[in-house]
Amino acid sequence: MSAGFRHNHLLSIADLDRDDVNQILDAAESFIEVSRRSVRKVPTLRGKTLINMFFEASTRTRTSFELAGKRLSADVVNVSSSGSSVSKGESLLDTCKTLEAMRPDLVVIRHAASGAPAFVAKHIGCSVINGGDGAHEHPTQALLDAFAIRKAFGTLSGLKVVIVGDITHSRVARSNAALLGRFGSEVRFCGPRTLMPTGVEMLGVKVYHDLREALTGVDVIMLLRIQKERLEGPLVPSMREYSRCYGVSQKHMALANPRAIVMHPGPMNRGVEIHTALADSERSVILDQVEAGVAVRMAVLYLLSKELRAQTATQAASDAG
């Protein structure tokens, strides 16, 4: 029996089983349709409040959550760290308590510290969604990537997926490895040794340092942004050298499955991790990922919506009784 969504929060892909993931992706299919109508709004979360708390800069994730909430008719408030009480020295716990007193139904948190959303979830009475925490997880990104992959291949199982770039600092790589691994796809991490954390094999991934080897026979090529400002110097000699060794261009596509797709969570550095012609080619699903982002986040907000869960729980209890 389908029992509805059983989670109060979305903190980590590790908490989700295959059914949960399929339920989110199936719901997202319907929300894609809503976003393509002339009136891109449904009344489902009317009267609910969504607070976007972004302690780290973000354009697409915040916009995507904001649109997702608005298209479901929720009231959406954005709080960013600069100019808020956070920059005045308020602790995360006090910020939580303050926000909770405003009675939101859903809170999205992005924070530089791994585990911050889990901390907030423990201290706040509403649903918490991890919008990216440190180098830990970015679950909605992995879900929207899964949506784009499922759209291209009709499945999430038995695929070979390579993630190329700065694995050390990438929560996207970690969440994707967890999700795709759960469905039995092979996940490869590829990057220079300086950007590959030790012990990463424990995530069940194969590690490559040679790009051509890593791309051989893959169905999905996922490129990560090289953060010029953070990496140049001790970890990467120069952007030019990185591009020469790990930048993916159209000529690399011959190594991959003929149907292979190219993905990038954005924002991309054209000419560094991805050559510009490839980014604009028909192999690229980068803009599909963005569209999927809004739909997947609508699905997550919808499934987490508080009363829904409470009601489902009471019903389950009365069914059992």
Binding site: S2, R37, K41, P43, T44, L45, S305, L308, Q311, Q315
Partner: protein
């Protein structure tokens, strides 16, 4: 109006459903003769197969083809965020211009009227129809909103506590039958 109150009781069998659909189709033809932009829209899940069969019948009689769409009203339910036992949403499919169209909304069972209210709201998000009619295979009574059908296949009085389920895919297993309603279901019976 027939009163039915035994679980499993068949209200309409496959033959009766076929005949009823043909009759309702000819009534629709009669009433919509003057309209140029006629379209049928089924309410998921029960209404869509009936809308398709009505469209086929209209084509047989009139020789003109009528576009058929479907609406999933889950997101428009008045209890969407609170009482949904199975939060499964499906996409709506409207491939014609709703603006200015004459639309016949089609559902299998008319009960509280809440589904129809939601469907009308949903339809308006696609455009402003010139007018909307409502066609239902069964009207079971029990309205909670001021909603009335323009085309009714069969009127049956079903007491509260029972669900009237309809299978109308066009096969031999087609039937409309009575079932005990479980409190874990959404009010209105068949539809989640």
């Amino acid at each position: 109006m027939a009163l039915v109150d035994a679980p499993g009781q068949i209200v309409l069998d496959a033959d009766a459903i076929g005949r009823t659909i043909r009759r309702v189709a000819s009534e629709i033809v009669e009433r919509t003769r003057a309209t140029a932009k006629l379209a049928l829209v089924g309410i998921e899940q029960g209404g869509t197969p009936i809308a398709r069969r009505l469209a086929d019948e209209i084509t047989k009689v009139e020789g003109r083809s009528v576009p058929v769409g479907s609406l999933d009203i889950t997101l428009y339910r008045d209890d969407a965020a609170s009482a949904l036992p199975d939060p499964k949403v499906g996409p709506s499919r409207i491939d014609f211009v709703v603006e200015g169209a004459d639309i016949v909304l089609v559902d299998d069972v008319l009960h509280t009227g809440r589904t129809v209210r939601a469907a009308i709201d949903c339809l308006f998000d696609y455009g402003r129809p010139r007018r909307i009619w409502l066609a239902v295979l069964c009207d079971r009574g029990g309205r909670q909103l001021p909603v009335a059908a323009d085309f009714i296949g069969k009127r049956v009085e079903v007491p509260e506590g029972y669900a009237l389920d309809v299978v109308a895919e066009g096969g031999a297993a087609d039937r409309a039958f009575l079932r005990v309603w479980r409190p874990s279901e959404a009010p209105g019976g068949a539809r989640p």
